[in-house]
Amino acid sequence: MEGIIGKWLISASFISSIISLVFYGIASREDKEKMIRWGHLFFSLKGLFLLLASAMLVKLIFEHQFQYYYVFNYTSIDLAPKYLWSAFYGGQEGSFMLWILFSCISGFMLIKWTREPYRAPVMFFLTLTQVFLLSMIAGWHSDFLSLGASPFRTIAEEMPNAPFIQANPNFIPADGSGLNDLLKSPWMMIHPPVLFIGFAMMTIPYCFAMAALWKRKYNEWVGPALPWTLGANLSLLTAIFLGGYWAYITLSFGGYWAWDPVENASLVPWLFGTAGIHTMIIQRKSSIAQKSSLLFAILAYIAIVYETFLTRSGILADSSVHSFVDLGLYNQLLVFMLVITIVGLGMFFYRYKELPSPNKEHGILTREFMTVSGSMALFILGAVIILGTSSPIIGLLFNENPTPPEISFYNDWSMPIAIIMALMTVIGQMLFWQKHDAESLSSALIQPLLVTSFATIISIMVYEVRNFYYMIYLFAGFFAIIGNLWVLFRLAKKQPKLIGGVTTHVGFGLLLVGILFSSAYNSPLLDERTSNYNERVLSGEVADEQGFTVSQTVEMLELKLNEPKVLNKRYEVLYSGYTIDNQNRPGQQTYALSFTDLKSGRSFGMNPEVYPMLTTSTQDNIQWSVDPDVRTGWLNDIYLYVAGSSYIENVNNRNAKANQIQPVGLSQDSTTASLGASLAGQGDSTSSDEEAQVISFTRGQSKELGPFSFQFNDFIMVDSTNVPTGKGVGVRAQLDFVHLPSNTKYSLEPLFAVYNEDGQSFTASFPVEIEAYNLSVRFTKLDPESDSIELSIIGLPEGLEDEWILIVAEKKPLISVVWAGTFLLMIGFSISILRHWGRERKMAV
């Protein structure tokens, strides 16, 4: 019942939007006040219907009405209320609703503040975009046309052919499939709304540009469009930041940016919008660049629609790690994109001849030239990224089944563009606030250049930068920071309200410097043995057992309980156990690691987590998900996650056994190279291995295992005559064994042998039985490099095996600078919004 009401509300909203579109269209042509009123009426009705439909969807979600597919698919009974809220926009359909709601709010503000002659056409184009967006959720189906996917469709409508629906059409699942655990994060709750506010706001410069083209008033639109563009950019930037930060602290790829198509798609509208802001500002000041302002305002919105098309049509299926479904909206999205593009660019070129041209040339050393060049650089960067992101389409020019470009494509092109931009920001800002000729500009630049050189050299020394290209890049980055700070201080004294722009440029410089250090100088934290191994791999010295050179380095390491390791000669890390938590995420382990910085003597703890993915795990098949811990510092972040542990392996093995599937053991695999020169125990280790517990010892170490104590004293070399196989070499481990309760002592000497047969080498180990305690001890592995051995012991009480974890740890320098740069950009944009918005409001009254 509620679902039907919901569908009707969306349909009513859709129809109202079409009616208001018609009224606004007539009003734009004939300038009739009455028509505009009618348009406003239906515009408001549309908003009202959509709001009610949204409320209905929220109600269904909170009432757990799982017969609705949307509710079933994105929520579950145990979901916390805050995530039930965010489930409203967790799926495609709901996120369209949220987008349109924000677009409506902007529409009401436009109704209030927009002046003639733009009023009617601005609303016409805004409504046009909303008609398209509403069509995506209309859910109208007939034989020849299917329009949109309704958020109110039931499971029966969604999959009429599923067996359980055929058996019982009124089937209602007892629980929903829930929200993906990775998305249960406060960052992911606010990321989508912020993004859609940005999308909604970026529509408005497009509408103003189109209105300007329609009404042939090419100058006045920039004033009201500018604060909207700034606002849109602030929102998009915030959304990109939230997404990047979430990815950094939640996912295991260990970064904030990966040039993933979905990330790129959010960056391009921002770059085009920023290009538009530059030309709009200079258009207001100097009455030039009318063409570019119009073009960028149009392109920024086209980029948003194009992004929507790419991410929601399923076209990126193979190239993006993000999953988006094809809801069957491909054609609709394509039409949306084509209409927005053809109408936008078509109008632009239709009017092109009569668009104002600059009446005089501006020299290179003018603020006009620098600002327009800056926007061109932003545009080119955006275009390069669009090209890379469009690889599934444009790549077809090159081959039939194109992959995304390599990351280096993006880096290679964006770095030089960023360097040019960074240099231009300073010169541009200097010229923006003061007229200069070549001579006066040079003298004004002397001091900033000196400080820049100093900062660059210091950073090159501290971070041991060896790459000449990076040095130039760093110089440009520091120049942008310092040069713009110079301008900022001067300006802040005279006109503190105007510092928005220059603040963003300082932020841009910080961003460049931070990005280089945090990505190019990001280093894995490894113990000495692993780094030695990696060095040998890099110099091509490591071969696997078939003689092929190993090319993959190892970037993780194993920690045993209470056995410290020193990482990068700098940190001593100790694993001291885990706790199981069933509160938040049932079955979650929190691992306790403590780090001691050997340089400063300071120590700190890190607590990475591993948990079963609720939505996809079943009792006997658990899918583990990692939750990294990040220690944030001013100079370095330490990023760490647990990639595996003895606990997880035990749970998995137990489940595997319960499922009658043989546990998976790969240690005897012949095609993979062993780490280091360890001699893996092969040969006779087969069936009895299952029950054995493997304990490792370094020479001289003793361990208590339940009621027993083992101490590994030394190796005893054995010559071939004493090896039972009759050939090869053997080693005995000299062990002291104590049964603690009775203080009974034994001396054990299990044997480990290596021999050759038919050109292949085998190892063998021979059990030593301690009949009194029903123990069988075998010496199964020898590692001369670390002077350690492994014993496989059968008969120990359960749960006494070695406890270990695998960690991946990275040291990421100066990520804080990336965030600082982003925050400065946000602050700068906010200052500019206040200034331009304040001015527009005064004019509107």
């Binding site: 193979d318 999953s323 970037e555 990692v626 053991g665 790969l666 095609t671 993979t672």
Partner: protein
């Protein structure tokens, strides 16, 4: 024509051709194991073979599994990092790396996990007993 215009056009054409050339160089094509043998870096899409042995080896610090490519060939894949999140969930994988000696060494892996979003997926019901899930309206 003005010299400025000519200069500008040449610059734009040069930039665009260089960009497109470089773009063409940096993309490759999705392929199968057979053709991957001839490539330095190959992108091979396929599906995981859960029946065959897989797992992370502490010995070699590698995750390995078997994958069936689109022409039906099964090969062992070695990945020198821990098992990625969602590995079992993925109904499609893309491994990026090099095929040597019948083993594919993946430097990168992409998982395509549609279950959460895919409209036609009914698997998520499979684990729930239908009877327990039925409620009266």
């Amino acid at each position: 024509m003005k010299p400025k215009l000519i200069f500008g056009s040449i610059a734009i054409i040069a930039f665009t051709s260089l960009l497109l050339y470089n773009f063409g160089e940096s993309i490759s094509t999705y392929t199968d194991f057979e053709k991957a043998a001839k490539l330095k870096t190959a992108h091979v899409p396929g599906t995981w073979e859960p029946e065959m042995e897989y797992g992370f080896s502490r010995e070699t610090m590698q995750f390995s599994f078997h994958m069936k490519d689109e022409s039906g060939k099964v090969k062992k894949v070695v990945y020198s990092r821990p098992k990625p999140n969602n590995f079992e969930q993925a109904d499609r994988l893309v491994v990026i790396g090099e095929l040597r000696n019948d083993v594919f060494y993946a430097d990168e892996m992409l998982m395509k996990c549609p279950s959460k979003y895919n409209a036609t997926d009914v698997d998520s019901y499979g684990t729930q007993p239908v009877a327990a899930g039925v409620q009266g309206r």
